[in-house]
Symmetry: C2
Subunit: 337 residues, 2 copies
Amino acid sequence: MLVGINHQIKLAARPVGLPKESDWERAETPIPSPGPGQLLTKIHYMSVDPAMRGWMNDRPSYVPPVGIGEVMRALTVGEVIESNHDGFAPGEFVAGIQGVQEYALSAGAWLMKADLSLAPAPAWLNTLGIAGLAAYCGLIEIGQPRAGETVVVSGAAGSVGAHAGQIAKIKGCRVVGIAGGAEKCAYLTDELGFDAAVDYKDQPVGAGLAKACPDGIDVFFDNVGGETLDAALMRINPFGRLALCGAISQYNVTDKPYGLRNAILLVPRRARMQGFIYFDYREKWPAMLEELAGWRADGRISVRDDIVEGGVQAFPDTLLRLFRGENLGKLMIRIAD
Amino acid sequence: MLVGINHQIKLAARPVGLPKESDWERAETPIPSPGPGQLLTKIHYMSVDPAMRGWMNDRPSYVPPVGIGEVMRALTVGEVIESNHDGFAPGEFVAGIQGVQEYALSAGAWLMKADLSLAPAPAWLNTLGIAGLAAYCGLIEIGQPRAGETVVVSGAAGSVGAHAGQIAKIKGCRVVGIAGGAEKCAYLTDELGFDAAVDYKDQPVGAGLAKACPDGIDVFFDNVGGETLDAALMRINPFGRLALCGAISQYNVTDKPYGLRNAILLVPRRARMQGFIYFDYREKWPAMLEELAGWRADGRISVRDDIVEGGVQAFPDTLLRLFRGENLGKLMIRIAD
């Protein structure tokens, strides 16, 4: 039995707009011991994702809201250090929902084995985790791109967007990314192999898309929502598909969300706009992970790890980096080694 | 060869907002003679549809805009009176796009045989025409309702909506219609067998849907758009489907169209919003028409014919009735008998 302190970040209050320090409680509790059927994980890396903002709202959604006083929900990868669970043994690595803390108890639900011989721990939050899986599910299952089509990805320098664009390239599409700033746009075209990038800080996104997509948009993979989605709708082709992964531009809006004016074009364009959550495709994950691991191994998918030091205490500030558009690649926090 | 006058309504100008008299030209031309491969039809009934407003705009869409000086596009049913076309003989009835006029020349494209032994001429513009086919395509192909689900139809007292609701009942769904006024709502529940009706003139549509759909909405068949669609999005269930047939509330808007604020819910609800045009399903029409004819014959589908007298000259005023929400059932004009 491990004796020591488990540092945790708990939700103290429901944020209005951007989360602030007083919305969090920095807690210290004893490291717990696994009961029957449970395992204890020492968390090594924690994923920082836009979806976390939604989990903090007290609204019905695809998962229950994080309760006030509860450890903040987070995707993690870590090492099993004690186990009373038949499926998991000490020394194995597991990825799944374990929260913003250093040690986590689990009954095994929402955990999968992370085989470090296949890829190092951070990759299980990146290409072999939420970023690769969300991109795969949205692009392939919803977007259904065909070779030669134009695929546009918003939030393209983020981890999900970077994967979506690269998978679209693998499928033989022309790929355009939308990102903010010259550095991110250069990352898309020079490092990730996108065909073109639209810098929304340099020009209105609609004007950028008009130039970058002379043949319109067949598939739009959206992480941003709002004005960006509206601009994509304006140029969606007949029978186009809009896969809605998220809407980071709207998560901290405190008055009314942006009103989409161009959704009316879905009718004459016979286009489809569909939301998705990658959790819904768990049965297909093993096959998806095999393909993603192959693309990672042969270098056709490469997405930077954006790893922040400082452990769980770094979480509140790190989350805000997402909403300031500061990160490039997969944002995560190193908790232990 | 027939000698006489062909009265026609041509588009004289592109309307801004609601079409007005000066947007039309009331023309008289000689009855034309069919050339090689052509047939001449005497039109008996003409369909008056919300989609006509879209055809008058100079915008790329699923069909080219009606040109200035051209006969206004319209769906019609009529009798072949002369034919140099191998596929059509005098005395046969045909349904298809023949325009707002008394006599039409055609090479046979966009025409199908209308078997009057199966149903009288007006039915080929109603249950066996645009109304039944659009409802079938949108509800079955896009909405994919399952028995026991809640299906909501907007513009439900209109011809397409009335069919969509009745087909949903045949499929074992709970069906709620949205319409304006007590008379239309009574028509839905008392005559068409809808389970409930929401009168949007009596209460905000969102409040009405909250009461009428305690278990949320699984399929939304939309003819209205704007605020009505937004209210439906608010209550769409996980994995719900929104089949967008049209947006009559927006067709005559002269400033910006309504901005949909609740489309952001498509993500957590994993819902799908998809536009469709029934023309795209032509290969499936024969099978659809067989089913629709069966349901019409056994009385499970019954939608009123709303037939206006006055011939082609009645067209400009009759079109406006659609946008004033005045009609109930399938709006058409009798041109000849």
